[in-house]
């Protein structure tokens, strides 16, 4: 854990995870980016739009047998709605993401390079389509160049592309391993495999990031310190 004074208001900003480089000051909502031993303010984060998510920063749960704590939130938006990406600090040191969209929960971990051969091959295929069509410079309609139903192989599992969309972060809280700046063009691809397996790929001008995981049930996460609701217990 590292503590930094907020460059804007002086309050303490905590980086729980060594991989976090981006945080929002709890008090003045300044956005800071970590540069080695210092933090730098890069702007102010607008208030997050409210939602009925049962999670919040500080919620704790388990994935299988691994306990985790939610330490960051990125609110993502696309043409037809929004979803949450919760950043998890896992007790085994891995950085996890809990995607919460349309009432479904997918928990995944970023797959670091070097990728297995089949992942590298699938990424090359996708990258070629995206680059040759200059998709990152286009709009949602152009994503028909990535037809749903196409099959790819990641880490020995067959996955089907089910969703392709342009997304951007409209707000964040807590700490994140990426700079969650507004308006960064991202193509988000969702894949489902057999059973409950899930894969997500994000393409930006910086290149692709690969996430592998599975769909999970609220009951199995055993969430403590979750959000409370009026009329619901």
């Amino acid at each position: 854990m590292r503590l930094f004074p907020c460059p804007a208001c002086g309050a303490t900003i905590t980086f729980h995870s060594p991989v976090s480089i981006h945080a929002v000051c709890e008090f003045c909502r300044s956005t800071v980016v970590r540069r080695d031993v210092n933090v730098e303010a890069i702007g102010t984060m607008a208030g997050l739009p409210d939602d009925m998510s049962p999670f919040q920063i500080g919620s704790q749960g388990v994935f299988g047998t691994i306990p985790f704590t939610i330490i960051g939130q990125a609110k993502m938006a696309w043409k037809h709605g929004t979803w949450n990406e919760w950043f998890l600090w896992c007790d085994d040191g891995r950085r996890g993401w809990l995607a919460e969209a349309q009432g479904f929960l997918a928990l995944s971990f970023e797959l670091d390079e070097p990728w297995p051969a089949d992942v590298a091959h699938s990424i090359t295929r996708l990258k070629q389509t995206i680059e040759s069509n200059k998709l990152l410079a286009k709009t949602q309609a152009a994503l028909s160049a990535l037809p749903v139903g196409t099959v790819y192989r990641f880490s020995g599992v067959v996955f089907e592309l089910v969703d392709a969309k342009f997304s951007h972060c409209i707000g964040s809280a807590g700490e994140l391993p990426i700079a969650a700046t507004h308006g960064r063009t991202t193509i988000t691809l969702d894949f489902i495999g057999l059973g409950r397996s899930f894969a997500g790929i994000e393409f930006t001008y910086d290149g692709p990031r690969v996430f592998l995981g599975e769909y999970v049930d609220w009951d199995h996460l055993n969430i403590k310190h979750g959000r409370e609701f009026e009329g619901w217990t």
Binding site: G103, F198, G231
Partner: protein, 439 residues
């Protein structure tokens, strides 16, 4: 500055205020719209003017202007109900219509902040609770059958479905008048619905609900629509019972068969006497005595079979089986008759020339069998002839067949009722498996 693990410093920020519905003004009529699934719902219909509003961001764009009163629905928007142990809130409903048959049904969207969304569908009084499936489902078009979750699903219907009415809020961009291609597969009580439209494929898996459970959950009381016919995924009550009786029935039959096999193997099957008896009408006594029948020590059944050579006559043999030592015995009668003739050119016959009596658990010893015949009408110039056979410890089959028939009748009855139920179900489908087709 040092790196520490989180468990040593659970510095939790202060919790967010309690989540609650959000209110906003309808951009068309200014009336207040209440959003329950905040953050999820991207479409909401104004309850005052019916206009559809884009709620995916703060701009609240008007999508479809309307000016109509909210239609009443069986389950009211905002109502809470507990189904299968989970509490749900009704946040939207749609009326859908099959383009070919013009049959309509209602789909309610249910929300729970922890468990997401479900669909509660009511068609002809049959209720099904569905959840979207996040799993690869191999669904090539034209498929009649496929396996999912270890069950074999059969195509029940397919067609184009129009959304004819929407009210409440939805997590997708619902529109009145939109069309999708729908295929329903059934494996009662389960239903798998595959919906194609707008470049998306949605698969939902559902389970049949007892209408009473829905009535209880949402306090419908007697307003529950009556069930019409058999629902596509309504479980057959006979299949359920048949499953329950299958094991006991098999055990029962297995027991009956093994007992019979044992009886056949263990039976002494000893013939005590076997002969023809000839009596002349002039015989004054018409009585014969068969002495010195020796029965072994163990208790055993004795069967006395008689057969009369009869032609439009009757015969009755009165028997006494007497123990020579104790003088105790059994008294019984074997009656036989045989009549036949022609009536209006039709041959008829009735009666039984053969009959038998079974004496149970006869103790061992020396016995005499006394038989006294009575018969009529007399046939002049002809002898009365009848056969007599007495056997001891014979494996009897009559009881076995009765037992077998009884043991099979319940499964057979259930099977027939089940078949009738399935025929009723598949009568509404164009894809009925051949065994359920009437023709």
């Amino acid at each position: 500055m040092t790196d520490l693990t989180l468990s040593e410093s659970p510095a939790r920020p202060k919790p967010r205020p309690k989540g609650k519905p959000r209110l906003f003004d309808c951009p068309a009529c200014g009336g207040s719209i209440r959003l329950n699934a905040v953050g999820h719902s991207v479409r909401a219909a104004c309850s005052h003017c019916g206009s559809l509003v884009d709620t995916s961001n703060e701009n609240l764009r008007l999508v479809q202007r309307a000016n109509e009163k909210l239609r009443p629905s069986l389950l009211q928007l905002g109502a809470y109900g507990t189904l299968n142990g989970k509490r749900w809130q009704v946040i939207g409903w749609m009326e859908k219509r099959d383009r070919a048959s013009l049959v309509s049904w209602h789909e309610y969207l249910l929300f729970n902040p922890f468990y997401g969304f479900r669909f509660l569908v009511e068609a002809d009084g049959h209720w099904t609770l569905l959840q979207v499936v996040k799993q690869r489902v191999p669904t090539p078009a034209g498929l009649l059958k496929f396996d999912f979750g270890g069950r074999s699903f059969t195509l029940f219907q397919r067609g184009k479905t129009d959304v004819t009415y929407v009210a409440g809020e939805f997590y997708w961009e619902v529109q009145r008048g939109e069309t999708s291609d729908v295929q329903d597969f059934v494996a009662p009580p389960y239903l798998l619905t595959i919906e194609r439209g707008h470049g998306e494929i949605n698969v939902a898996h559902g389970t049949y609900l007892d209408p009473k459970a829905v009535a209880t959950a949402f306090g419908l009381g007697t307003r529950l629509p009556p069930r019409d016919g058999v629902g596509p995924n309504q479980p057959s009550p006979f299949a359920e019972t048949a499953r329950k009786v299958t094991k006991p029935a098999i055990l029962f039959l297995a027991a009956a068969i093994s007992i019979q096999i044992g009886a056949v193997i263990l039976a002494d099957n000893e013939t005590l006497v076997s002969r023809n008896v000839v009596m002349n009408p002039s015989d004054s006594e018409k009585t014969i005595v068969i002495p010195a029948l020796h029965l072994s020590d163990e208790l055993a059944d004795v069967i006395i079979e008689t057969g009369g050579r009869l032609d439009n006559q009757w015969m009755e043999i009165g028997f006494q089986l007497v123990n020579d030592q104790t003088g105790r015995g059994y008294t019984f009668r074997n009656a036989m008759e045989s009549y036949s003739g022609h009536d209006g050119g039709e041959y008829w016959s009735e009666g039984d020339r053969d009959t038998e009596t079974v004496l149970s658990m006869v103790p061992g010893g020396n016995y005499s069998l006394i038989a006294e015949m009575d018969a009529g009408p007399p046939a002049t110039g002809r002898d009365w002839v009848w056969s007599l056979r007495a056997r001891r410890d014979v494996a009897l089959w009559a009881n076995f067949w009765t037992t077998l028939g009884f043991g099979l009748s319940i499964p057979f009855y259930l099977g027939m009722r089940h078949l009738g139920f399935e025929k009723k179900r598949w009568a509404q489908s164009d894809y009925a498996p051949s065994i359920y087709r009437d023709s």
